[in-house]
Symmetry: C2
């Protein structure tokens, strides 16, 4: 059983995964991952090679686990967390831990063997984005979970492995990730003082100043943030205030698909198909309960963060949370504005 | 001039470096760093190839910037921060920034062309560790600085570049790194409740439980921490409570050199010479001032964190501060205990 363990000093939860784990002697300083391109379990017609599907978009009402789908969600075959069981929170001396209960799902974004989401159509990307919303809403019903992390690892440098079939992942967790808590508390502080959402203010300023703006289209902006940690770091934000990704209507999801397509295509064309990660930042579950969580609807603003993996992260970032970005975000934005797609 | 910029939501400071920066079109998704092993500017006899030295250990009182040294400190030729100038804190709409003022120094750990600190003698490592203390104490005199980050990037995966001469770096910054602030506030909270140092309690428990203990020698322990983020993550802690790295006496530094030598040799032998980073975590400057900083001496406990770079960090860690460790620290510690050096 994997475990969730809490750092006793700074309170960060970590998944200690055992199922997926290699033996200690299988870690090796010199090892490089090979490229294997055997039969792809994510292509149409190979449905039997994955665990039974959790959900799918099937226009013709075809039977599950058979061809005829457009987006398909399956459990991970090597999950970080296990879906069965109770949390069983407990202490061990000064340490806190609980069982590694959670969901880990793979969202297969196309039935074709296409590697990069940038090469899917706007419409197909919108279907994937809609599928995220459906899965988050469904997992919210499970009272053990506090958050669903939706993310993508594309390319080897981004931890995407060697199988070149476009997909994303989600993890439902019984704890709120540290960064999410920090964003919630930071945006609450800002609201307390200004009585305005910090993200709404940021969007207004970025549209006005233009220098970090990559795109302003159909209700969304894409910017390289003022305090970017990485070269070409990109945030996509809806102009309309909303804390929760799942609250979008189908028009908004349609437009978001278009915006994602343009941004990812600019990255692909401008930077020679780099590896990248993205993460959806949305409000946690169960926020109607007591305390400051009540104010999340007004304080917080969902968004997507994209990080191309172009530079190696050196040592002191890990140890300190203090980053060095070797390219001003203004230069990154200006470059990406100029890439025609 | 580089800038220090603050993320308006979570308050994290980032260095936006321009001097060192490449042009946007020089970032490339497919680019790999080559290995270049030309004449090494860090070897004895090549002193003229570095900027003039800031400090050095020279047993025979030889002249500066000439052979005859054991450890040598020089300014970085491509500094992240600039030593001259005032901070000039200012706002720009809702954003906060200041000039990228700070120091960036290279500590050359040996006059021989040896790549890994693990291959230096105990005594030589102790000299390096002593040199860190001297530099931190010296930089504390500069009222603009709040913290000195001492770190090492060894090997290409750790951001160590291609030049194989053992060295470490330090950055003196006018802001406290986020992670350090979190550790300070976490350890204060623990002290407030328990009236004991969380690190002292942790050391006691680790010595008792033994399962995560790698070494217990001469006043130091090396453990793989309970909530390790990375496989084979290692913390080295002094058993004697002390908040500040620079307060160690020469006996303690001598023993720390021995402990570092053993731990780094175990990593090298057991894991096939992996890339690694380490960071010294010590109390910030100017803690005698008002407020909770006064209690740092009792709350906080300096230590060293070592991270071998064996796995790729995937996407959602960046976006969320939530880590998955694929190897239980108990297994890592047991493996490293068994590596004979």
């Amino acid at each position: 059983m994997p475990e969730l363990r809490k750092d006793p000093i700074i309170g960060r939860w970590v998944i200690i995964s055992t199922e997926r784990g290699k033996r200690p002697d299988q870690f090796n300083g010199k090892q490089e991952e090979g490229v294997s391109e055997e039969t792809c379990p994510f292509c149409e017609g190979s449905e039997s090679q994955t665990p039974p599907e959790i959900s799918a978009i099937r226009p013709g009402n075809a039977a599950p686990n058979a061809p005829g789908w457009e987006v398909r969600v399956v459990p991970s075959i090597s999950p970080f967390l296990r879906i069965e069981g109770e949390l069983d929170r407990r202490g061990k001396g000064l340490y806190d831990l609980m069982n590694g209960v959670g969901a880990h799902e793979i969202i297969i974004e196309t039935n074709q063997h296409i590697a990069n989401m940038a090469d899917l159509s706007d419409e197909q990307i919108s279907k994937v984005l809609k599928c995220y919303a459906g899965r988050i809403a469904d997992l919210e019903k499970d009272k053990r979970f506090k958050y669903v992390l939706v993310f993508k690892n594309y390319g080897k440098r981004a931890g995407g492995g060697s199988l070149r079939h476009s997909r994303s992942q989600l993890i439902a967790t019984p704890v709120n990730p540290k960064r999410v808590k920090e964003e919630l508390s930071g945006s609450r502080q800002y609201f307390d003082y200004h009585e305005r959402c910090v993200f709404c203010d940021l969007i207004r300023q970025e549209i006005e100043q233009k220098e970090r703006l990559i795109l302003d289209l159909d209700g969304f902006i894409a910017i390289s943030p003022f305090a970017a940690r990485f070269p070409f770091e990109i945030w996509i934000l809806p102009k309309k205030h909303c804390a929760d990704y799942t609250c979008q209507d189908s028009e908004s999801i349609k437009y978001l698909g278009k915006v994602m397509k343009i941004v990812l295509s600019k990255l692909k064309k401008g930077l020679n198909d780099p590896s990248y990660n993205y993460v959806i930042h949305t409000a946690p579950f169960r926020r109607q309960k007591a305390g400051y969580w009540k104010t999340i609807e007004q304080d917080y603003h969902w968004h997507i963060e994209i990080i191309p993996r172009l530079t190696r992260v050196a040592g002191f970032e890990w140890g300190t949370g203090f980053y060095i970005c070797p390219l001003p975000p203004e230069d990154a934005a200006s470059f990406l504005r100029g890439v025609e797609v």
